[in-house]
Symmetry: C2
Subunit: 499 residues, 2 copies
């Protein structure tokens, strides 16, 4: 069902000599399809088509774009089981997760369809006498989208970035993720079919294959590209941000780059429901083999006699869960390497780790412990270990815990676990955390990012490159639009949404 070709507007293309395969992480074997790396000419062609398509696409009505987005969702549903099979084969994620993520992806496409079906999302504003000034949000131009390794559907080819950009009236060029280019091609084909059936201009969507970083780098530097959406590592996101900032004409980059998502657990919560919390957090740490940007990588608590038994309980429960295969050999290797680097830091103890781990790319879940003093003194302990790893920091007192919070880098989320009668004492920590994160959770887990208007998925650097936007929910469309004003314009020349 896949050809390995690049999708350049309505045309498939495979002009390059370089090819690659995706890998089945469970067997380390290549999957059958040979993917053709996009050439410079193919990148240029996709960009030129997107630039040409921008004008007619930006002028489509909201109803036309809503129809297009719903058609994409239907075409994806239409693929059926083969998509789920491709997804699980390329990612090693289980079928239940594949189905859930497909549902989320379809939901997002239809949510943005609902949003743009009328023009309220443009915030049309009128001030001044007579004709005076009229303002509305308009699309910024062609957007480059980088798929995420850990969400082959919901944060990739037809994920939130693509759905929100297409909804706003921006063409999209996706740089397909090399770990799931087969899933990507299936989705790209669905988008193309939907575009053709809805009379959407050729070039509004393209999908480029690449196993390396060069295609993405070319894309971000191309004059036709006006904004970038990225979900992935700090290294990758920062590299794209730097390239975009160095352009003759710099463009905005929204990169969501992960986080260690601190969890603050009070002594009282440990005392009154330590066992329940250990169970819940063992599940959150290992969910999806820990491969979530909101994975709880850091647990902070003030030490007393109950702390050590709680950590042991959490670690044992985590280690006892079934070990899972990671998304691919590179991710598994990086996990092992960064976890080992953590282990080598002074003062750190591995409290428990999964025993008897067998199989290719299967991750050993680990819970480690360190003192507040060590954590404050060593920035290496603040780094993200992408996978089922969590570090518990035992502060000597509340003051040291606050100092640790003030010392953290920007994060996507923070969580406070406390008893209801402790609320008065939590004011200070709540506001301290607010300066560091985009979302704060009470008595829950950070994993799970609801697609809702009141969601913020983003946060101060390095959680994202621009904390002024969310990557999830209707408001994520604001990343791809700009205000535009008409002054004293005759009705006949105004767009419908400003009449």
């Amino acid at each position: 069902m896949t050809t390995g070709k690049n999708q350049i507007g309505f045309r498939q293309s495979a002009k390059g000599a370089a090819t690659y395969h995706t890998i089945n992480p469970k067997t380390n074997a290549n999957n059958p399809t040979k993917f053709y790396e996009a050439t410079q000419a193919e990148i240029d062609s996709a960009c030129a088509k997107a630039a040409t398509a921008f004008y007619p696409y930006s002028k489509t009505t909201g109803a036309q774009r809503a129809k297009f987005l719903r058609a994409i969702a239907s075409e994806i549903e239409e693929i059926g089981e083969p998509l789920i099979q491709m997804y699980t084969t390329e990612s090693a994620l289980p079928e239940g997760r594949a189905n859930g993520e497909r549902g989320r992806t379809l939901g997002q496409l239809r949510m943005f369809a609902d949003l743009v079906e009328n023009d309220k999302w443009r915030h049309p504003t009128k001030t001044g006498e007579k004709n005076g000034l009229r303002k509305a949000l308009i699309p910024i131009g062609p957007v480059a989208v980088f798929g995420a390794s850990n969400f082959p559907l919901a944060f990739s080819t037809a994920g939130g970035d693509t759905a929100s950009a297409l909804a706003s009236g921006c063409p999209v060029i996706v740089k397909s993720h090399p770990m799931h280019s087969g899933t990507g091609e299936m989705i790209a084909t669905a988008i193309t079919k939907a575009a053709q059936s809805c009379n959407i201009p050729d070039g509004v969507f393209s999908n480029l294959n690449s196993s390396g970083i060069e295609v993405g780098e070319q894309l971000v530097q191309h004059p036709a590209i006006k904004a970038v959406g990225f979900t992935g590592s700090h290294k990758g996101g920062r590299a794209l941000y730097n390239l975009a900032a160095k352009r003759d004409s710099p463009i905005p980059v929204f990169a969501e780059m992960g986080s260690i998502n601190p969890i603050i657990i009070t002594q009282k919560a440990i005392q009154e429901r330590g066992d329940e919390l250990a169970e819940i957090y063992a599940g959150s740490i290992t969910m999806g083999a820990g491969q979530f940007c909101t994975n709880p990588g850091l647990i902070l608590t003030v030490q007393n006699e109950k702390t050590a038994p709680f950590i042991q309980n959490l670690a044992d429960k985590t280690a006892a869960l079934d070990a899972q295969c990671m998304l691919g050999p590179n991710i598994a290797k990086t996990y092992t390497k960064t976890a080992q680097k953590m282990q080598s830091q002074g003062g750190l103890t591995i409290v428990a780790a999964t025993k008897g781990v067998v199989g290719d790319n299967v991750a050993q879940a680990q819970v480690a412990s360190v003192s507040g003093k060590h954590f404050l003194e060593n920035k290496a302990l603040h780094q993200e270990v992408f996978g089922p790893f969590s570090l518990v920091v035992q502060a000597k007192d509340q003051q040291e815990l606050l100092k640790i919070v003030h010392d953290l880098e920007g994060q996507l989320t923070a969580t406070i676990i406390a008893q209801d009668d402790e609320l008065n004492e939590l004011q200070e920590i709540t506001v301290a955390l607010q300066e560091k994160v985009g979302r704060i959770i009470f008595n829950g887990v950070p994993t799970g990012v609801a697609v809702e208007d009141a969601m913020t998925h983003g946060g101060p650097y390095p959680a994202s490159t621009d904390s002024r936007f969310t990557a999830v929910g209707n408001h994520s469309i604001l990343r791809w639009v700009r205000p535009f004003s008409f002054q004293d314009f005759p009705e006949a020349l105004l767009p419908e949404y400003l009449k």
Copy 2:
């Protein structure tokens, strides 16, 4: 009435050895006050104070901040005539302009006070069952503001950037403009008095003097600074943008960097009201000695037998107006130099220029003409000449005119001058212009930027560094805020505006 000292929170400071004076542009003589360049220690102190003040200031109620903003306006009014005298002495701008700009400044401060008096501006959003998710906009952190040479009040110390940032809950450190540091100090003193009388934390506002670029560079690179507002040259804005992007933790820079503001005039408009248009545009070109970022620097028309007489008429009317003194010797020198560089470009003719120009820093207004072909072939002709200079481009036909529009860089504004019975033929040029600018005007002049909600003052690069925001009007507050979500939070821990 001025001391020349830096304002570091509530304290005045003059620790540096380096000093400078502002200049009276009409006489080229130094004004009496000796201004002390801010030292590295003073910059650090202002930043540390701002960082400390951020937490308590971000938690003030909207009513408290509204009171503060209104108190600033009252304190500025309180200064009275000496402010107008200082303004005119430092800028050579006339008293009428000084009064008008003061009115605009007071109006902006009171507009933002009205905006934040209740919390609707935070867009509080609630989704999900029970407590679920609640989201609102919160301030981003301390903001560095760079005053503009050409608006000593409305785009400087207590101008739109400062007013919107203070309204949102962000502390502000102003890098005072070296051409009007006396005006800056008077305003800084008014802000400080207002802060003290309103119990606003020490460090919410500081004002640093500097005649060079180093203080600004240090400020933009300081870890405590979380965003930057700038109005000025492309060179200056881009330099700050580059520094901010290279930080370990990059920050957003909103730089408004000027524009040549293309005016499209139809043949029919020239035929039917050429004389009237020549009069209006002579006024717009020379308004404020051409020192507006929305000055009409480029006039585009399709050549016919009426074109040459119209250009001659426009040039003669422009040259006949009283020559005006520019903002300072450096600006006057740069104007002469960039206008001369224009004159040396092949195919360009100076149609008329002010005769018998005398006096220090007095600008010779000039209207030049060039063919569409020359303009398309030579990017040097696309550059801004900051001052009373306008270039008329005669395209050979409508197609060449459209090509020119597609070839333009990003602009703040564009203007279409046409007859009412031509509307049907203007659709294509309107949408072509839309891709290039932030605001489009019909049958008016681009000079004059109304402080209204429906105003967009910004545009695609290089008009600004981020076209997704406006620098004027209530919505300019969006530059300094970020969304923040509370998940499943008890009422007692929520801020008032989310209860």
